[in-house]
Amino acid sequence: MATQSQSETLAPTHTRSLHGLGVLCGLTAGVWLGAAEAPTKLVNSGFTPFTVSLCMVAGVFAARWTFPTLLKGTTYVFSDLSQKKHLIVWAILAGALWAVANTLTIFAIRDVGLAIAFPMWNTNALIGLFWGRVLFRELDGADRGTIAKVIGGAVCIVVAAILLGFSTLHGNSEPTPHHAPAGILAALGASVLWGTMYVPYRKAYLSGMNPLSFVTVFTVGEMLTMLLLTWTFDGGFHASVLRLSHGAHFIFWLFAGGFVWVIGDLLQQFAAKYLGIGRGIPLTNTNQLWGLAWGALVFGELASADIQHKAMVLTGSLVMTVGALCISTAKSSLGEHSTRREALERECTRYGLDYDQVLLAQSGEEFGGRPEGRRWWDIAIIAAATAVFVYLGFHAAVPSLTLNLRWAAALGGVLIGTLVFCVYRLHRDTHFS
């Protein structure tokens, strides 16, 4: 009883402030996830998609161990993990789902082309919304207006992302769909896997896990699965990844893409924690808008676009903004807090967690005086990751592409500005919990 009264006392103020923080994290995640493709546009290496993907994941791996170490220290991360050991399994499972889904998209593009595959796998946010509703009772107890805003906003963002995706396709560059059923199955599979990947996300954050701890393990599952897939599908000992020394000057850009993606992904995790997957994931899908901005303004990808494509960009941008506004203003009500508490109680009962501690952690409060001190190996991890990036940077080749440096500087400024503000708010409001 004491537990419940504490939750009722905490809920209104914390959820109000956390909604705003969650929206900020979701939108900033969109900015960073959208920019992650920019460095990879500089790569024309001739390597297979598996190798390109594996290099990005390797960059992700390096960055994902660096940020949690930098912000909290490994002592904190392992302390968090040791209190919720069962979530290690969930995090590895989520990483494996991501890697398989990512590989499926490669086959989908090969077999049916981006124009058909992209809209299919982009519906993953709606699948996430479905699982959030069915498994975790998200939106249960919400008024009709809030439900309409969240579902309508999510649909708007998905439709807009598809429109923006189409706007980048020109001419008759799409492959002829020789293996249409297989390609469609791959695209739908990617959507199902990515949408279902949010189940472990929600599971972890409902149990109060820190997103920094979750991604540390998630990336192990992701890296191991990617290695296995590259080995299996890219020719074993003959895999092109083993001949990377011939293209070492490209690897930096792939690592850089992975690095930028990690920041976006971390913020996506915080958005999923504070808002739930129904609200958090669609908001981060605004990344399509920022990806298009980099492509069009910096790389001039829409320079030869006709009026139809430009109309798609304008319509897609407007619809996406409306969708983001709908979700941003759909605050959870007391009724939703009550059902969320029931979902939380289920986790506590099943996994033997302390309800009070989980509630505090879930609300972004630090608990248990967990150590945050840095050890010598923390410094070694950060130094090693930095050394890898510096080494690759020294060996990187600057491609002879025409870039609009003014727009690159402007969008880079938006990247840094949004991140600084978001990090400040995370530090001030929850201390990255």
């Binding site: 050991k85 499926l104 086959f107 297989a182 199955l185 791959a186 896997l193 599971k203």
Partner: protein
């Protein structure tokens, strides 16, 4: 929570089998696409 209890809690959690089923589905599709 002991490892055996944690394992039992995970394996009897109906939520767990949804991502596992999705992963198996994904791997089967991948195998078919090779």
């Amino acid at each position: 929570m002991q490892a055996s209890h944690a394992a039992k809690a995970i394996l009897t959690d109906s939520h767990f089998w949804i991502p596992v089923a999705a992963l198996i589905f994904g791997v089967v599709v991948l195998m078919g696409l090779r």
